[in-house]
């Protein structure tokens, strides 16, 4: 039922998909860490720290990811800084998605009832312990659905790095399409693979949401 040209090249595309998943995974972890650090800085930082974080968030949110990638790939080498594309790509995407994760974690931290902090403190918990056993577990649960949502965006955005010559699913598709003169079938196949990846993620998000539902 799939066109022969797609079946013949499916293995190649799947190898691209594996790289895409790897890129996404390599980006999700640092962007979550960056997001949490920025969120903590915004909630608990002094006025200077908050201002710096705000500037960062506005800049990142106001500039397209593709432009940031171009900046890293074309502009930085000009000024003598040479970033390897794979490292640079992951770095730029982490900084970019970190800004969005920051908002997610910040909202989650702020939506924890004040009373939870009071309860933890009143039991003699010090800051580190309170965060570890009371605050973070609840923040992660509250943040899980929008976090997964952002991960879906992130998976799709990895296709942009094909433009800075990082080989992954989209670039694999372009190569095959140019070689076979069958862009319709090939990009159709590429689209289906992206869709399956993202659909699996969003089902997982729904599952998390179901499982972690509890009232305050």
């Amino acid at each position: 039922m799939l066109p022969d040209v797609l079946i013949a090249n499916f293995g190649y595309l799947l190898r691209g998909a594996v790289v895409t998943v790897g890129l996404a995974a390599a980006t999700i972890v640092p962007s979550a860490v960056i997001g949490m650090l920025l969120a903590l800085a915004k909630v608990f930082g002094g006025i200077t720290v908050r201002a710096i974080v705000d500037v960062y968030l506005y800049v990142i949110r106001g500039v397209p990811l593709l432009v940031l990638l171009f900046f890293m790939y074309y502009a930085l080498p000009y000024s003598g800084i040479d970033v390897p594309p794979l490292f640079g790509g992951v770095l730029v995407m982490s900084l970019y998605f970190g800004a969005f994760m920051a908002e997610i974690f910040r909202a989650a931290i702020l939506s924890l009832p004040r009373a939870q902090w009071d309860a933890a403190r009143s039991l003699g918990m010090r800051r580190r312990l309170m965060f570890r056993i009371v605050i973070y577990p609840q923040v992660f649960r509250l943040a899980a659905p929008p976090f997964v949502n952002t991960c879906i965006l992130l998976v799709k955005s990895t296709s942009l790095v094909s433009i800075i010559s990082l080989w992954e699913l989209t670039l694999a598709g372009r190569e095959v399409a140019e070689r076979t003169f069958a862009p319709l079938q090939i990009f159709g196949g590429v689209a289906i693979i992206y869709f399956v990846l993202c659909y699996a993620l969003s089902r997982y998000g729904l599952y998390l949401e179901e499982r972690m539902r509890f009232a305050h």
């Binding site: 009373a115 009071d118 403190r121 009143s122 509890f214 009232a215």
Partner: protein, 267 residues
């Protein structure tokens, strides 16, 4: 420091001219109060009179601006050095709090932990009690409040009254010197109030030192050793419950009790 007093005579809680403002609003105005060992003091008064703030100063959830708070002879939150107030370290403040139990109006159980873990977490992680002992203690407390069979449930599965009893058990598991209660029945459906008050009464009978902010006048009158009436950030009148309710000496307390009785009759 009243070092000449023996540990037994020393008051459990002592507030000396405590004052506190939120912005320009003065919530506590030079409040002084002494609570003896084993005493149960009920604080009553209209909303906004500073009762809850006063209670939260005792375990330093509110950082009072002036005066001194002592629990078992130790100053809470600040220490005085050559007449200057110096904020204690986070470690010292946490250590002080671990000896003071508080129960809140909104229960504030940790929703992601089972009932048992709610009770054992702080004794294990803060006081270094062994997990086995903490669990044994928690089960004993749960059976005392009649909720042993709920040990492995999440709080959300419990009624408000049950959650509040667990919150009391959680505070007791730290073996506190004093227990603070902040309008603990105000969020409960009327039919659930009794079970929580019963637990508090049994605590008082056991000789626990208790400071109870409450709207339950009947309860305060029957259980408290002393009633403190607050209004506009100050203690207006205090004394023996029966005397205070039957023969208030201040106009403000008379007015408060009258309003209370009227609303009680209407409801």
């Amino acid at each position: 420091m009243p070092t000449e007093l023996t540990a037994h005579e020393r008051p459990m809680v002592e507030l000396r001219r405590v004052s506190m403002s939120f912005g320009r609003h003065r919530v506590l105005n030079d409040v002084s109060l002494t609570v003896s060992r084993g005493e149960m003091v009920a604080i009553i008064g209209p909303s906004g009179s500073g009762k809850t703030t006063l209670l939260r100063c005792i375990n330093f959830l509110e950082e009072y601006d002036g005066g001194e708070v002592l629990v078992d002879g130790e100053t809470v939150g600040f220490r005085l050095e050559a007449g200057r107030r110096i904020r204690r370290t986070e470690r010292e403040i946490a250590a002080t709090r671990s000896n003071i139990g508080i129960v809140f109006q909104s229960y504030n159980l940790f929703p992601h932990m089972t009932v048992l873990r709610n009770i054992t977490a702080a004794p294990i992680r803060v006081k270094g009690v062994s997990p086995e002992e903490a669990e044994a203690r928690a089960r004993a407390l749960l059976s005392r409040i009649g909720l042993l069979e709920k040990a492995d449930e999440l709080p959300v599965k419990l009624s408000g009254g049950q959650q509040q009893r667990v919150a009391i058990a959680r505070a007791l598991a730290m073996q506190p010197k004093v227990m603070l209660f902040d309008e603990v029945t105000s969020a409960l459906d009327p039919e659930l109030v009794g079970e929580v008050l019963a637990v508090m009464k049994s605590l008082a009978d056991d000789g626990m030192t208790m400071v109870v902010v409450t709207h339950e006048m009947q309860f305060a009158r029957e259980i408290a050793n002393r009633i403190v009436f607050m209004d506009e950030g100050a203690i207006v009148e205090e004394g023996d419950p029966k005397r205070l309710f039957s023969a208030p000496t201040t106009e403000r307390l008379r007015a408060f009790l009258k309003r209370y009785r009227e609303s009680y009759l209407l409801s």
